[in-house]
């Protein structure tokens, strides 16, 4: 591929044995990192090195490594998913860094995302928000009406898709100075609000999801827009505005 080059880097990685003890940043040196490697492959390389020195490897969440599962979650050099936009950490490549760079690697920081170990956090708060209303109450019998019975304007379908493209990684919360989850919730509320199938339960959905969101201990949105910039899927702030509208409508009912 384009650049065949190796670099040496310094890492400052958050190490924490579990949620009950204190953690700290630990310095590591890693040499011969291919700039074609992804950031997680670089961490693999570090872990290989640590394990062969009989040290504990760095724990981090990752799975699909193609930017869609939403598992990976690192705060790199002060930014969620690192110094590039429109990507997850697994899509961040080492060519974004220079030889000799010092790289800070920290977990998502949020009261609602407690640390499990090292860089691994518990994001089940998102699951609970979804459980509070992120669905259409339709039985899975398949005996619904034909899929083409209700036409959906392409614009709405496209917008619903753009909102539904959220991967639930939590970068919005991690990057928001308030630790707010409104982009995540707004995206889910929007997806359903834009489709005729979702309209039936629109009132309860937005009330319940927002209530759950507040109970989980996320902060409040102050419209800084950082979430939109750092969202790997480019979910728009428009979705938060739509949720605000939906919530107002629902509250006045």
């Amino acid at each position: 591929m384009a650049s065949k080059k190796n670099i040496n880097i310094n890492l400052k990685i958050w190490r924490q044995k579990n949620g009950n003890v204190k953690g700290q940043l630990v310095d590591y040196k890693l040499d011969n990192v291919s700039t074609d490697s992804s950031f997680l492959e670089m961490l693999d390389q570090l872990n290989e090195q640590l394990v062969s020195q009989k040290q504990e490897p760095v724990a981090f969440d990752h799975d699909c490594r193609e930017g869609i599962c939403g598992s990976c979650s690192l705060f790199i050099n002060g930014r969620a998913h690192g110094p590039d936009t429109g990507i997850t950490t697994c899509q961040l490549h080492m060519r974004m860094f220079k030889d000799g760079d010092t790289i800070y690697v920290e977990p998502w920081r949020s009261r609602a995302f407690p640390i499990i170990k090292d860089l691994v956090v518990d994001r089940s708060a998102f699951d609970r928000i979804q459980q509070a209303g992120g669905f259409v109450s339709v039985n899975t019998s398949g005996r619904t009406i034909d899929a083409n019975t209700i036409p959906v304007p392409k614009e709405n379908a496209d917008k619903a898709f753009e909102a539904a493209a959220c991967i639930g990684c939590g970068a919005c919360v991690a990057t928001c100075k308030n630790g707010s989850a409104m982009l995540f919730v707004g995206a889910k509320v929007s997806q359903y609000a834009l489709l005729p199938q979702g309209k039936v339960e629109a009132t309860q959905r937005v009330m319940n999801m927002v209530r759950q969101m507040d109970e989980e201990g996320f902060g409040n949105c102050t419209n800084t827009g950082a979430c939109e910039i750092e969202c790997p899927k480019g979910i728009s702030l428009e979705n938060i505005a739509r949720m605000n509208r939906e919530y107002l409508k629902a509250s006045l009912k």
């Binding site: 591929m1 384009a2 724990a59 490594r65 193609e66 490549h93 979804q130 899975t140 619904t144 083409n148």
Partner: protein
Amino acid sequence: MKLDSKIPEGHISEKWTNHKNNLKLVAPNNRPKIDIIVVGTGLAGASAAASLGEMGYNVKAFCFQDSPRRAHSIAAQGGINAAKNYQNDGDSVYRLFYDTIKGGDYRAREANVHRLAEVSGNIIDQCVAQGVPFAREYGGMLDNRSFGGTQVQRTFYAAGQTGQQLLLGAYSALSRQIGLGRVQMFNRHEMMDLVKVDGKARGIIARNLVTGEIERHSAHAVIIASGGYGNVYFLSTNAMGSNVTAAWKVHKQGALFSNPCFVQIHPTCIPVHGTNQSKLTLMSESLRNSGRIWVPKKKEDAEAIRAGQLKPTQIAEEDRDYFLERRYPAFGNLVPRDVASRAAKERCDAGYGIEANDTNEGVYLDFSTEIQNKGKQAAYASGNHNPSPEEITRLGKKWLEEKYGNLFTMYQKITDENPYETPMKIYPAVHYTMGGVWVDYNLQSTIPGCFVAGEANFSDHGANRLGASALMQGLADGYFVLPYTVSNYLADDIRTGKISTSLPEFDEAEKRVKDQINSFLSNNGTKTVDYFHKRLGLIMWNKVGMGRNEQGLKEAISEIDALRAEFYKDVFVPGSADELNQELEKALRVADFLELGQLMAMDALERNESCGGHFREEYQDAEGETLRDDENYAFVSAWEYKGPDISKEELHKEELKYEYIKIAARNYK
């Protein structure tokens, strides 16, 4: 052991309806007395758990990820097939059935595949009702596109993220049931073993991956929906965590394992870049709608490209070998995956590969023709009948961006090359495994009460899966098959009462698991788990990969055997058992891959024919096409575990009868 596939009587189009009418039911008031375990929360698992929870059973669902939404179904890009015939191009249930059987190279069970085609339409209805935002046309109707191996447009899609949207749909249904308390969700839990009581599946042992606690969970039935085993190759398009453990543990408890050698190598992935590479990234099959695959006609051009002296755009049109169009004029770039992959391998083996990696493995996927075509169309559509070449190129690129923007961006992020300007480099990579746990028509394995769904079973795709059919199968199994067949099984369990987890069978299973964990942690070897996994992957890719032969397979069998011994002797697993220990998780999974890999080679060696993804170099015609042996190999292989020595596994055969499709050589020319 006699394999009874329990295929219902009657005409193929009535089998499923008749069968459903005759299945036993569990009354609503009895369902809360019954527990069901679902392992895995991908399309099959999530849809099954949601459906069964909705029916009123007590469901316990398990996933090793931090959320059920992260199962690897999420990564499916292209689409989902359904015989809706919305495009009015002659599609029907029969055609989908026929295409799937043919695409599978006549190694799938007719009745299962027909059922899949029958329910395919319901899947779309269901998903739309759930709020899945499929792509639509300007008139508000659902849009379709073409996929490999078909001549109709029956693929529904949501940009390049169809799997994600479908999984999130199933996840939303599952979430609803979790919220209602009908499904109890166990995130970050890995199934470590199956517990059988009186020969029936009655529970599992699971490890809480956060605390390391070994937990016992009992149930009246266990559903395994843990996905495929592509990661046996180390490098694949699977997620890092995708593993065979659940399915393999079931196999070791007595469930037969079918067609392990049927692995799908996907033709359009980004080529390997280096030794630290952890996984391969798929570029959706949908790109073959617009891209043309080629390598240089002249070897010296290929060499110059690899050396960086020539750019692909400098190769003249007449010096390009569009080898799929040349070999398969009828289907062209849209031949099935196995055919496309093999053709690419053939060119690279012959020295025409263009990627400058160790193996020169790479071919071009070129969009320049499409840019010109679509650019011209767009110009005309906007009333400009005399567009300049620049205008055409600009409009063509815009069209591509609208259609495939996210894929192109992904490609650029990974490779640092701009696919709008220069052709993509692609090469086949392990993607999907058609083999899996043997199941009957009811998706029940040879262990009563142990059902297997989705990619984890073997049932619907024969020797090769068509694009956009995996999503269809996963949801069909979970939404529309298991709710009926599992209920039928459970109808006899309404008086059983709760299964105790203090039965000796649970003790034994728990001990097995703990012993294995402790042996890893106290092993004190010198090599990492990945070291062994990568070596296994290399053996598998080189000898049990796209091209296989008797000698290579025999070597593979003994090499894997030796590697497994070395693994147990020399692997080092740091940390302890009572914490989040990702190295330990990997070790436990790789241990199973090391056994499965050997069985795959054995299965491939046993099958003296070429069919679908299984290409035995000894069995090809003069043009390099697969040579099936329907006389001797029209069967499903089903292996029975016979102890730690994998070479002792016993082969059973389920004969495949084709009553409704005329079996023929697969021809895409």
